[in-house]
Symmetry: C2
Subunit: 337 residues, 2 copies
C-alpha cells in the first residue's frame, strides 16, 4: 500500500522488486561506452524487417522476449509501454496477441520512468504480482517522422541530440528481490518557454529540476543520500543547465548527477552532437547499465529521473514552446541480512 | 487494496468514488440526441483559437476546469490523460503548468476507460486521495492528421465513423461517493486481421469481445447483471459484429449492449455514416450521459468498455492490419442505507 509523503512522492511499502531486465540496441549504441551491458546489439538497422517502423516493433518485441527469458517462468499480468512513433504503434504491435493485458503510455522520452513507476505503484497496491514496463525508439524511424528523410542528409545543429536505437524492458514483482523500487515522484508538465526543437535538453532541464526538487523536499533525501541521480536524456547542454539550476537552489550535484544521454555515446568520436535522446535512451541505459551495475554493487541507491519533451513537429510549426515532464523512481539494492 | 479475480480482472476493495465529471463538445455533438447532458457546447469549431489543434487543447482545458469547478474544493493529486494527436500534444498542453503531476496515456479511443481504470486502481492502492482522468478528440484536427485536409472534401465510405469533437473528464476519490468503481478489466491487444482504416468498428469488435468475455469469466457476472454495457466507439457496423460474436458465445446482449458511437449522433439526420469515434466519443458520452443517468437512477450497474484501434496512417500504408484493445471498468450506484 503506497503512502503519499510530502506534496507528490509516493513511498512504496511493499517495495516491488526487479525480477529481470533486458536491453536491445542498434549498432551505434553497441559501439558506444556502454556496449558491454546490452543483451543484444543489431548491426542491421532494419532488424530483419522491411521498414524502420517495423524494425522498431521487432526490436521492442525481442527486448520483451529477452526480459521474459531472463525471468525464467515468471510472466507479467500487465504490460505497460509506449514509444515515440505516431499513435505509439511500435509498442502496440510489439504486444499484439500476447496473453497479458496492455496499457499504452505516452511520456515521450520519460516513458521508461513513467512505466516503471506505474508498474511499481500497481504492484504495491496489491492485486497484481508481476508487471512489465518497456519502451524504445529507433533513430531512423524517429528522424523521418520528426525531422527529415534520412536520404536528405540535413545538417544538425550543435545542440541537437541523436535518437537512440534501443529498447529496454523491466519485469517487476510484488515480492522482494535484490533491487527494489522504494519511491515514485510523478512529474508535472513544466513549460519554460523554450521553442527550439533542436535544443530539447534546454526545454527538459526545468522539468527535471522541478521533479528532483520535489523528490528531495518530499523525502528529505539529497544528492548525498543517492549514489547516483540519472536524468533521462538531457544531453550535454541540458545536463549543464540542470547543474546550474540545482546549484542556484543551493544543492551540490557534483559527481552524483549523471545523464543517460551523455553516457550512451562517446561524443568525441560518435558524432552525436549534444548526446542521446529518445524513449530508448534512458530505457536501454537503465536495463543495460544502471540495473546491472547496481546488482554488481557499484551503486546502492539510485534516482532514475526520466525526462520527456511533450512536443510534436506540428506544435513547433505552430509556434508553441516545448512543455516537458520528468518522472522520478528510486531504486535501492537490498542489503543482505 | 485491489484483488485480482480470475485471469485479469481487478476488484477494487476501496471502491473509489466519482466526485465530479464534465463534458465539453462541439456544435454537431451539441445538436445530437445527447445534447442535454453536456456541460458546454461550442459552436465555434476553433474554440476561440487559431488552429484546430490549439482548439483541442482549449476544449480539454475547459473540460478539466469544469470538472474541477463541479468538484468544489477537491483537487486531483494526479492527472491521467491522452489524445489522438501525434505525440498526444493536446493533453500535455492542457495540463501545462497545472500543479498536479501528469501521466500521459495512449489507448487511442479507449483512453477514457484506460485512464478511469488506472486512476481507480491507484486510488484503491492507497497513497492518493484524488485522481482525474480526461481525454478528448477534435474532428477537424483528427481528419487532417489521419485522412485528408478538410478543404479537399474527400468522400467517406459507408463504414467510416465521424471523430467526435468532445472531451470528458472524471475526478475520482478514494472515499465513497454515490457512484463507485468496482472492477477494472484491462484489455489485451487483439489483432483480428482487419486492414481497413475506414472500418475500425470491425477491427475493434473482436477486442471488445475478448475483454467482455474475460470480465464475465473473471467476475461471474453476465449481461443479466448489468443494466447496460457500453462499448466505446464501435459504431453501427462494429456493434452489430460484436452482437453476433457474443451470440455465438451463447450470450444474450439483447437490449443491454449499447455503443457510445451509436448513441452520440442521429445517424439518419447527421451524416455520420457508421457513427461516432475518437477519444472524445466515449469520454463525452460517459461524462455527459452515462454518469448523470446513473445518478438519476436510470441504471444501477454499468460496464464501460472503451475500445481503441491501435493503428496509425503509416501502419496502414505499410500494409499492416489493425490491432485493437478494449479496457472495461465497472461502475455501480451505491444503494442508500
Amino acid at each position: 500500500m503506497a503512502k503519499r509523503i510530502g506534496k507528490r512522492t509516493l513511498r512504496l511499502e511493499r517495495r516491488p522488486g526487479v525480477v529481470s531486465y533486458a536491453a536491445v540496441v542498434g549498432g551505434k549504441e553497441g559501439a558506444g561506452p556502454l556496449k558491454k551491458g546490452f543483451d543484444e546489439v543489431s548491426t542491421d538497422s532494419f532488424f530483419g524487417q522491411e521498414s524502420w517502423e517495423k524494425a522498431e516493433t521487432a526490436m521492442l518485441s525481442r527486448c520483451i522476449d529477452r526480459c521474459l527469458q531472463k525471468a525464467g517462468g515468471a510472466r507479467p499480468e500487465l504490460i505497460l509501454g509506449g514509444d515515440l512513433l505516431n499513435q505509439c504503434v511500435s509498442s502496440a504491435f510489439a504486444v499484439r496477441d500476447r496473453s497479458a493485458p496492455y496499457l499504452g503510455l505516452y511520456g515521450a522520452c520519460s516513458t521508461m520512468a513513467e512505466g516503471l513507476g506505474l508498474a511499481a505503484l500497481l504492484l504495491d497496491g496489491g492485486g497484481l504480482n508481476r508487471a512489465m514496463a518497456f519502451t524504445g525508439s529507433h533513430f531512423c524511424a524517429a528522424e523521418r517522422q520528426y525531422r527529415f528523410p534520412l536520404e536528405y542528409g540535413g545538417q544538425r545543429t550543435p545542440s541537437s541530440q541523436w535518437t537512440v536505437t534501443g529498447a529496454g524492458a523491466v519485469l517487476l514483482a510484488g515480492e522482494a528481490e535484490s533491487l527494489e523500487i522504494t519511491h515514485v515522484t510523478p512529474g508535472r508538465v513544466v513549460d519554460a518557454g523554450v521553442p527550439d526543437a533542436n535544443n530539447m535538453g534546454a526545454a527538459m532541464a526545468p522539468a527535471a529540476l522541478d521533479t528532483i526538487l520535489a523528490h528531495f523536499d518530499d523525502t528529505g533525501l539529497d544528492f548525498a543520500d543517492y549514489d547516483a541521480v540519472f536524468t533521462g536524456d538531457l544531453g550535454a547542454i541540458g545536463h549543464d543547465i540542470l547543474e546550474d539550476l540545482l546549484r542556484r537552489e543551493g544543492l551540490d550535484p557534483s559527481l552524483r548527477l549523471l545523464d543517460c544521454g551523455v553516457l550512451i555515446y562517446n561524443r568525441l568520436t560518435q558524432d552525436v552532437h549534444a548526446g542521446g535522446s529518445g524513449c530508448g535512451c534512458s530505457a536501454s541505459v537503465l536495463a543495460g547499465h544502471i540495473l546491472p551495475a547496481m546488482e554488481r554493487g557499484v551503486w546502492r541507491r539510485v534516482l532514475f529521473a526520466g525526462t520527456g519533451a511533450l512536443m510534436s513537429p506540428l506544435t513547433c510549426q505552430q509556434g508553441c514552446s516545448i512543455p516537458a515532464v520528468c518522472h522520478a523512481v528510486s531504486i535501492e539494492r537490498r542489503e543482505r541480512a
